[in-house]
Symmetry: C2
Amino acid sequence: MHFISIMFQGDKNNGFDVLYHNMKYGLVASKELSEFFREKSNIEETNSKLMIKLANKANSGCVHGTFAPIWVVLKSSAEKLSSLHLQMVQKISELVKDVSKYADELHKKHKSVKEEEAGTLEAVQAMQASTVAVQKAKDLFSNKMQEFEKLRKDNSSTKDIEKAETKLKKQQDDYKQLLDKHNPVKAEFERRMTITCKVWPNNSSAHRKFLFLNAFLCVYVPLQRFQDLEENHLKQMKEFLSTYIELLQNNHDMVGKVHSEFKRQFMEMTVDKLLEQFVLSKYTGLEKPGEWK
Amino acid sequence: MHFISIMFQGDKNNGFDVLYHNMKYGLVASKELSEFFREKSNIEETNSKLMIKLANKANSGCVHGTFAPIWVVLKSSAEKLSSLHLQMVQKISELVKDVSKYADELHKKHKSVKEEEAGTLEAVQAMQASTVAVQKAKDLFSNKMQEFEKLRKDNSSTKDIEKAETKLKKQQDDYKQLLDKHNPVKAEFERRMTITCKVWPNNSSAHRKFLFLNAFLCVYVPLQRFQDLEENHLKQMKEFLSTYIELLQNNHDMVGKVHSEFKRQFMEMTVDKLLEQFVLSKYTGLEKPGEWK
């Protein structure tokens, strides 16, 4: 899919405008993504703290009685989960740094593109303004024409018809004047559009032919430069997200392992074993009490 | 493993004491477990809110530009995770209720056991106090005996020897008096211990034989009642934890599915498709701009 399609936009000639301003959305997206990751990293940090609190709760579990060994396992499991969250904080923070760095670079790149394309933007804006003015003059001219023809058809007075004809001619002059002004603006616009098209695949004569075929369009420039910019930007953004997904999935796997390990340890702690541990802890040795005589 | 082992504790006779007081640790453990689950439920609630916040962050992502569709997927994924955390809040809260209810029941059960075993506890405490007193008197008597024999061996004066002999006889009388008092206390203690032993497997004559064989021990009572209480308690506690582990694992699986679904949707959003979507959103149709004449 090529940005070329964006140029098929009728008489507004704003394809360039759309693509020029779209650059800024890329920058916004990269900043927003870094904020999104930062928020996720904060969530992980909060969780790490909450799990430490939970581990402390398990740790403060009564050390007497048969249940005591289970607190040890619950505590250890919560501690492991806490450290996994902390690991995520570190890894996502690194990602945030990478995205922020990328946003800075993108900002610089956009600045240079904007500087280079400033003339084009000017030409585009001039073209837009001129197009609107010409269209308006054309509309006014055709109104005057209708008025003039209506008067003739209705056999109005010669005075009225002459008056209308004067108005019509004046409007025609205005329209022609604007058209004269429009032509160099249009030429500059088309020249600029072609410069902006830095890369045109293979055959530029095919391009020109295509331009002729599409002569009904005011603008026909693929704006490959914007296309390349945007493609590279999206590739980079997708890479950040791939890293993020990988982090999520690795972490998820490790959390799963902590759960499994917890379950395994818990299953090993049968009621009999818990009783045994308790008895052993209370067993103070075989001391002969002796008999009193 | 039987609690019987706890009774092999030499001359402190505190096996009953240990088991009697151990009941309270069971109650403490059940209350602590319900608090532990409540804390975990609070963590889930916090996470549910944090994930909604994260979803809102994704939702406030710029709707313009090529990246916009990815925010939709990020938002939807965060929302799903939030609702999974909320599900956990509900499920763990139910578990907390069950554990609390059980703790109340256990408290009542312990109360009735304590009432029924009050006489035994009294006998145990009397036995402990009496044992200490007898031992003390025995030690004093043998001190006096040593003093008396030393005087005789050293050919001390008759007066000194007679004085020591009087002291020795007095101490012997004290010791005998205490022993006389000790015997009914011991009998009551042993009777009580046998009552506390509600269930003795199969052959009570074997039990009695075993008691003889272990005559050197002051106490030999399996205290099956405490054993049963503790076993049932541990089974119940383990059931609560099994439910908890199951909740954790089911939730973990569902979180994994959300991640996989997110990854799948993300992988489908190729750079080409993102560009296409963007172009379609900007594509305003083929309007013939017209030529001005």
